[in-house]
C-alpha cells in the first residue's frame, strides 16, 4: 500500500466551498471531492451518472468573470475552483392533464407568459450541462413550432440551471414538459401496434397464460426462461395466438 502511493504520489489541489478552502486529491468529481472533504449529500445527489439532473453546480475561478456550470457528479475538480451547489431550483408549476392540453401555438405562451420576454441572450444554452439549446426551443415556441421545441428539449434533465441564469425568468423545464406533452398528445401519431396490444390485454386475452405462469414454482419459470434464451422457443401455453 505505502510503496505504491510513494511510487505514484497523490497530487492535491485546493477548492473553495461555502467560503472554506479544502485540499482534495486531483481527479475526483466535485461530488466525490466534497465527500472526501467530509460532507454528506442528503439532497442534490441522485443517480451519480449524469442523468437525473439533481446535482447542478456553479463555479468560478479567481480572476475570471465567467460563471461556469455543470453537474457535481460529472465535473472534475480543478485547482482554485469556487463552488456552490444548487440542490433545488424552485420551478413550481402545475402541468395540465392530458385532456386539457390544447394543440394551439398560443397555448404555451398563455400558461407561461414569461417566454415572450425572451431577449435571445443565450445564457440558458451556455448554462445547459446537457449541451442543449434551450433558447432555440423557446424561440421555436414563440414562432409556433412546438414540434421543433419538443425535439430540441427531449434530453432535458430538468436541473434548472438555465432558469437560474435567465434574465426573463423563464421556467424552462416546466415549459418543456408542457410542450413535450402537447406534442406527444396532439402532434405525434399514435403507434397502432401498441393500441392493438393494449386492447388485447384489456380484453383478457393473456390472462390465462399469465395466471399459469404466476402459479408455477420459480424453478419451472427459470427453466422456461433458459430454454427461451437458448432456442427462442416458448412452451405452448405462452404462445397466445
Amino acid at each position: 500500500m505505502t510503496s505504491s502511493s510513494e511510487a505514484h504520489p497523490r497530487e492535491y489541489i485546493t477548492i473553495y466551498f461555502n467560503g472554506e478552502a479544502y485540499k482534495v486529491p486531483k481527479g475526483l468529481t466535485i461530488m466525490k471531492a466534497l465527500e472526501y472533504a467530509g460532507f454528506r449529500f442528503t439532497r442534490g445527489s441522485g443517480c451519480r451518472g449524469g442523468f437525473c439532473g439533481a446535482c447542478p453546480v456553479i463555479y468560478r475561478f479567481p480572476g475570471d468573470y465567467k460563471v461556469r456550470v455543470g453537474l457535481a457528479c460529472q465535473t472534475a475538480v480543478e485547482d482554485g475552483m469556487f463552488i456552490s451547489l444548487i440542490p433545488y431550483v424552485p420551478l413550481v408549476e402545475r402541468i395540465p392533464k392530458r385532456e386539457e392540453l390544447k394543440p394551439e401555438p398560443g397555448y404555451v405562451v398563455k400558461l407561461f407568459p414569461e417566454i415572450s420576454r425572451c431577449v435571445s441572450c443565450n445564457s440558458c444554452s451556455k448554462a445547459c450541462p446537457q449541451g442543449l439549446k434551450p433558447m432555440d426551443a423557446i424561440q421555436a415556441i414563440l414562432r409556433g413550432d412546438l414540434k421543433k421545441a419538443a425535439e430540441l428539449t427531449f434530453e432535458c434533465i430538468a436541473c434548472g440551471l438555465c432558469s437560474l441564469r435567465c434574465p426573463a425568468e423563464i421556467r424552462h423545464h416546466a415549459v418543456f414538459r408542457l410542450v413535450g406533452r402537447v406534442v406527444g398528445v396532439h402532434y405525434i401519431s399514435r403507434a397502432k401496434s401498441v393500441e392493438t396490444r393494449v386492447r388485447e390485454i384489456e380484453s383478457g386475452k393473456y390472462n390465462k397464460a399469465f395466471e399459469t405462469l404466476l402459479s408455477m414454482p420459480m424453478s419451472e419459470v427459470r427453466k422456461i426462461y433458459e430454454e427461451f434464451m437458448k432456442t427462442g422457443r416458448l412452451p405452448e401455453f405462452l404462445e397466445v395466438k
Binding site: 465567467k66 431577449v119 435571445s120 441572450c121 443565450n122 451556455k126 432555440d136 424561440q139 414562432r143
Partner: protein, 279 residues
C-alpha cells in the same frame, strides 16, 4: 441561379403563413433559389419596442453571425426578409459595425464566447427591394394583368425610418408605386401613405391605432383606389382591424398579377375576383 438567404421572422411563421407562401412563390418565379436560415431567432424587434437598449441587437447580431457562415457555404450575399420590423432591426444590426463602435462592442461582447461576431459581408434586403431591382422581369411576368386597376400603396413607417435603413426616400417613396406600375395597374397617391398606423400600440393602447387608421382610411378613400397594398404585416393587421378597406399584402397582389394563383389563399382570391371582369 442566385441564392437568397431567407429570414422569416416569428410573425410570418406564426400569423402570416399566407404572406410567406405568396412571397416565396414570387421569388421563385423570378428565378431565385430561396434558402431559409438554418438557425434564426426573434429579430429583437419586439423587445426593442419596449425598451431602447443594446440588448435589442444581441439577437439580430447572432442571427447575422450565423447567417454569414451559411452564406459563405452557399455563395450567397443577400439575406431577405418579408417582415418590415425584422428588416428594420436586422438592417440596423448589420450597420452597427459601421457606426459608433461603442454600441457594436457592447453587443458583440455578448457573442464572443459563441462565435466571431458579424462584421459586415451581408446585405439585408426587404422583399420589396428585390422586387424593385427586378421590376422589368416582374412587368414581363405580369403581362399587364392588372390593367386599369387603381391601387394605393401604404408604406407604413419601419421600412422608411430611421433614414439610415430606409428602402427609399423616406419623405417621398416611389418604390411600391413603381412595382404597381410594373403589374400594369395604376398607382394612386394620397397624403397619408407614410403615416404611422399606430404599430405595436395595438397591444398597449389600441385607441391610438384606431385614430391613426381612421385618418389613413379617409385619406385612401379620397384617392379613388380600388385596393390597398402594404409591405408591412403589422400595418396589414391594424388596417384590417379598424377599417373596411380592401387591403392585401403587396406580395399577394404581385403573386396574383404574376399568375401564381395556387400560392394564394381563398380570401385573397375572393378579394381580387372583382378585377377579373375588368381585365
Amino acid at each position: 441561379m442566385q441564392v437568397l438567404l431567407y429570414y422569416p421572422g416569428c410573425s410570418i411563421k406564426r400569423d402570416f403563413p399566407e404572406v410567406e407562401k405568396a412571397s416565396l412563390a414570387v421569388l421563385a418565379a423570378l428565378g431565385y433559389k430561396v434558402v431559409e436560415l438554418r438557425d434564426w431567432y426573434c429579430c429583437g424587434g419586439f423587445p426593442g419596442t419596449l425598451a431602447w437598449d443594446h440588448i435589442k441587437y444581441v439577437s439580430a447580431l447572432r442571427t447575422l453571425s450565423m447567417a454569414y457562415q451559411q452564406a459563405r457555404e452557399l455563395g450567397a450575399s443577400t439575406i431577405v426578409t418579408l417582415c418590415a420590423f425584422c428588416y428594420n432591426t436586422l438592417k440596423q444590426a448589420s450597420q452597427l459595425h459601421e457606426g459608433s463602435l461603442e454600441m457594436y462592442k457592447r453587443v458583440a461582447d455578448y457573442l464572443r464566447d459563441e462565435f466571431e461576431p458579424y462584421r459586415g459581408g451581408l446585405r439585408v434586403a426587404h422583399f420589396i427591394e428585390i422586387l424593385y431591382e427586378r421590376v422589368k422581369e416582374v412587368a414581363k411576368l405580369a403581362e399587364g394583368r392588372l390593367k386599369k386597376i387603381k391601387v394605393a400603396a401604404y408604406y407604413g413607417c419601419v421600412l422608411l425610418r430611421p433614414k439610415a435603413v430606409a428602402v427609399d426616400n423616406p419623405d417621398n417613396p416611389r418604390i411600391i408605386e413603381e412595382i404597381i406600375k410594373a403589374l400594369g395597374a395604376e398607382p394612386v397617391t394620397y397624403p397619408y401613405r407614410t403615416y404611422c398606423c399606430g404599430s405595436f400600440q395595438i397591444l398597449a393602447e389600441p385607441s391610438i391605432v384606431k385614430r391613426n387608421v381612421e385618418k389613413i382610411a379617409a385619406s385612401i378613400a379620397g384617392s379613388g383606389a380600388e385596393i390597398v397594398v402594404t409591405p408591412c404585416q403589422l400595418c396589414l393587421y391594424n388596417l384590417r382591424k379598424y377599417s373596411n378597406l380592401k387591403i392585401l399584402d403587396l406580395s399577394e397582389l404581385v403573386a396574383y398579377a404574376m399568375n401564381l394563383q395556387e400560392s394564394l389563399s381563398p380570401e385573397v382570391l375572393r378579394a381580387v375576383r372583382t378585377f377579373e371582369s375588368k381585365t
